[in-house]
Symmetry: D2
Subunit: 340 residues, 4 copies
């Protein structure tokens, strides 16, 4: 049993903890946080399903003052784990890295950190082999993780030469009060970092993209214009996506009208927090333009990186050396693909 | 074991089914619907936790064509139940009533139906006794249900003479595509129906109110200006709310900044679908104006009526004749108040 | 002086009237409407800058009851005009066409009508010559009008082989209460009609596209991936757009952060209603992907079709037979390009 | 001719400048700003309708670098004016005050400054006399200005004992990218500052209130529960509001469905930027609760304080010593009441 610690119990950290707890070959040792938040308060009301450790002594005092049981400090628990999933706010992970290194522990950072924090910029499906045995991995961001799933899927079928993406980005998560847009779209400087990141992970693909922020909270929407090396029909594209355990193919006529339908469906499914690990592709959006293929995908920003983060544990600790064996093990424990 | 059937498996019907299934003295016989929707599709993907019955033969065919297992027709199962919770779209319940009466079954309708559909307009806390043994009850709507909880709570302490309410209403549920507002507030003709409904349930209170629709999905916000019969301080108001098992008192400094924080917290708690049965009162909003008390409450529109609906079963079937015994039984099985 | 009548005094009709009134070689005979609305009420408060005619006798009575002066009926005034700009609700124009034909009058319909209503599907810049002398023209819709401006501009420089577009559509106009989305993106079946319409106007270009509705009111955003026949650099693309009198090139660093900045700037400029006739291209979004060019444009949906509608009058009545002479005359009277 | 300088050319400053320019007994000497913004850029494109002065030398350089003509520095022009309208960002006005005092100039600050900045906290209708001859006035904020108009109107009819208000606040102005909420309501600590400010201006009225931020941009909505000293019917309330030149009474049946309808109507009226100086009261919201009166008002946040700011000039410079003569002069030049 591989022992895993989750550092940072926010939007991503909570979901990493739940995902790791489902892996039968991993043990979640606990979670670490630095502040009394709604997330850490919820642990108390739920009866402490996970042990909580404080990032530093002052944090411990604050948890105790709020009546939230604390099992110790990060520096205590760090000795007892094999690997850390760091889901702290962007920039903090880089500082934590020194501590992890000092304790001789491997760590996996989320997309908010700079690439320099890690030895390998990682995606479970696209470059699993690069992560084997690495000490420090950095995951792709939510949009890039989902995007690469789809592009890698087609790339392995027919080869992809280049992609041009348009990211219609949700601007805040449900419950965010520190950021937001009201009746406004916001344009970013192009090319978007997701296109650049895709080229880092998949260097044989040329990519560019434009990103626009929109005032919604339930998921990003990306359109992809992909130039394949070999001709591929819309039907073959759909079939390829249907085979993938981290991609769902949905249809407008079934009631999946947009991002909000997908969130509703995940809530109706009883998924914790209404989360979905899969990206969705709308069958109705798959079209051809000359040889190019165009399609639209949904990215559930809060939970999409969880499977690839767990793949990262498998790679860093060499739990599986085979890419497909690794991702399929992660999928099995997360219940991915079972619905088909 | 009282046998309950839920007719209409939409936003409310799904939650009624879950709530009834938690009552140890009730048996959920099944759920009934008329169309292939995301909600009925989710039943299939979850492995049919509840038996599904079709509202009529054509609906049965459609479910089967979509691969969703159907256990029979409404007219079949109706013979085997003690009471129906009707959560169909407004207006359909009135038509269904004839069928229920024909089969000699009691039924409880939701707030979308006209008052005439029922013998008694019902609220578990405020007029439980009126529902005892009744054949047809109609529940108050989501806003009115939550509002009455708060007003009844103070009324039983010091007597309430009159209330003036302002309802800041969410305009759509998450996943609604058939209604919505974009960058607009919408004003309704005053007095709002919630004020009128409150007077029907609590005829000794004078009530008026103004309602404004806002472009959000996670819960209504109501301010109440209440004129008490006896003087009551802000602290006593807060203490009274804290004692109530269907009211939570929250604070801005704890991170509850608005409706979205409450939804986030309920998701973090692991509540199915991120639902909350309780209304919330912000401690920070309780103020005095002369003798009057003013405060602000949050109404989780999708789930707030579930406890009072279950109270209705208890009243109609005379499972408990005592008001407090009834609501406390409902609360116990729903886990309400356990967090204190 | 060419005599013009505007039928339908809603969002588009009001702006057509204002645009025609600015043309020194045209006379706005009046506007026609069928109902007492905020738009027709505003005419009264402004002291009737335009004569109002009623679409039919009952409408005349309603205007008079509301105290809005009416100059007569559509059937009266129709005899005194050379051409009609029909901006009625989709479908009504098709019915009106018979009336116009009966009176021997030419007419120009907006994008909401079906293509069959007209002899020519028209765009001032892209196919002006087709409209020369035609009896019935139909304008492209707001998105298509703006999109074609940009594509036609590049097509005339280097030739465009194909385009793949992503339309991030505003779902409602400011003041719309009959439609709206709340916290939701909505996906349409691909290919979008705008791509198909572009191919009708520019049959030598292959086009496809995906459209997603977003909960904002101030303008659409479109990304275009264009495959040119001859190589063209990002700088040359920007230079081409800068030369065009109906295109503005804007920059993030100048404060144009998205659709809302553009609306704000147009208000600050003192443009009536905060309208802009030009589309905007963000210089910061112009990127290359291999030979392909990608860029993002803003479409001010309420006013963008006004210049091309006026071009349509010039074509139908053969006021100018030369394309550039026609559009430049329209531009001069609308003040387009003067700001450079 | 009184010489007026507007310092700060943002949302409020632009509108102050326009409002002053309309007063036939005032001369707008110029406007002052410190940065190249969309607002100052718009001056250039419009051909410099107002002279622009730079707040300090570095600002002058930046304007010149952006090609925006500058007429000099604030310190230069300050000698030539009688009074300053300071509409700078909150906190800057307090710093500017020393400069104004040093030059022996009177100044009027906006609601964003602290009360201490001024000798008198001012409202044209409610306490005009207090402002007579004062050196430094501070205006009430947008919500408070509009609220006091309505409360003062009734207070002068029948006397108002106390008010309890609910403010449904727009969270951002159109074009704001530095603040915003997405699918969230945000609750403030009660009592809201508007209630406290009302008591400062009208010390004989007891006031409290709750404020909730909503994700819209076009205007606030306030409900008022007012306890009058003498009984007053809903009809009499409506009649009193109809007489007031800075209040419009609107009706749902006329198409005024909410804040967005009012913005649309103001745009259709051709008001610059779609601005309205008046607050609106919905006739449909005026209801009674016992002796109390309840009603709902709309506050156009960008422009509502302009008339009272101009009243402030009249008071500070003792242009009119009579309250009604002063406000009626302001109203006449702004065209207020002319529409009746």
């Amino acid at each position: 049993m591989v022992k895993v610690l989750v550092v940072g119990y926010g939007v991503i950290g909570q979901r990493l903890a739940d995902g790791v707890a489902l892996q039968k070959d991993m043990e979640l040792v606990g979670v670490v946080d630095a502040a009394v938040t709604l997330s850490t308060r919820s642990l108390k009301e739920k009866g402490m399903p996970y042990k909580l450790y404080a990032a530093f002594p002052e944090a411990k005092e604050k948890f105790e003052a709020a009546g939230i049981p604390v099992s110790g400090l990060l520096t205590d628990v760090l000795n007892d784990v094999d690997i850390v999933l760091d889901a702290t706010t962007g920039g903090v992970g880089a500082k934590n890295k020194a501590l992890y290194a000092q304790h001789g522990k491997k760590a996996i950072f989320q997309g908010g950190e700079k690439n320099e924090v890690a030895d390998v910029f990682f995606h479970g499906y696209a470059n699993y082999e690069k992560g084997l045995g690495a000490d420090f991995l950095k995951l792709t961001s939510c949009n890039t993780t989902g995007l690469i799933r789809a592009v890698d899927c087609l790339d392995r079928k027919v080869g992809i030469e280049k992609v041009a993406i348009t990211i219609v980005r949700r601007v805040a998560d449900p419950g965010d009060y520190h950021r937001g847009l009201t009746n406004a779209l916001q344009v970013d400087k192009a090319p978007s970092h997701q296109a650049l990141d895709l080229m880092t992970i998949m260097p044989h693909v040329d990519a560019t993209g434009i990103l626009v922020h929109t005032p919604v909270t339930h998921g990003h929407f990306i359109t992809v214009v992909a130039t394949p090396k070999k001709d591929i029909s819309a039907e073959e594209v759909i079939a390829a996506f249907k085979e993938h355990d981290r991609i769902r193919v949905v249809r407008l006529e079934d009631g999946f009208l947009g991002n909000a339908s997908i969130f509703k469906y995940a809530r109706d499914l009883g998924r914790p927090r209404g989360d979905l690990y899969e990206i969705c592709v709308w069958e109705d959006t798959v079209v051809k333009s000359g040889k190019d293929v165009m399609f639209g995908i949904h990215i559930p920003q809060e939970s999409v990186t969880i499977p690839e983060s767990i793949d990262g544990i498998r790679a860093a600790l060499e739990m599986q050396t085979d890419r497909l064996e690794a991702v399929e093990t992660t999928n099995k424990y997360l219940g991915l693909g079972a619905w088909k």
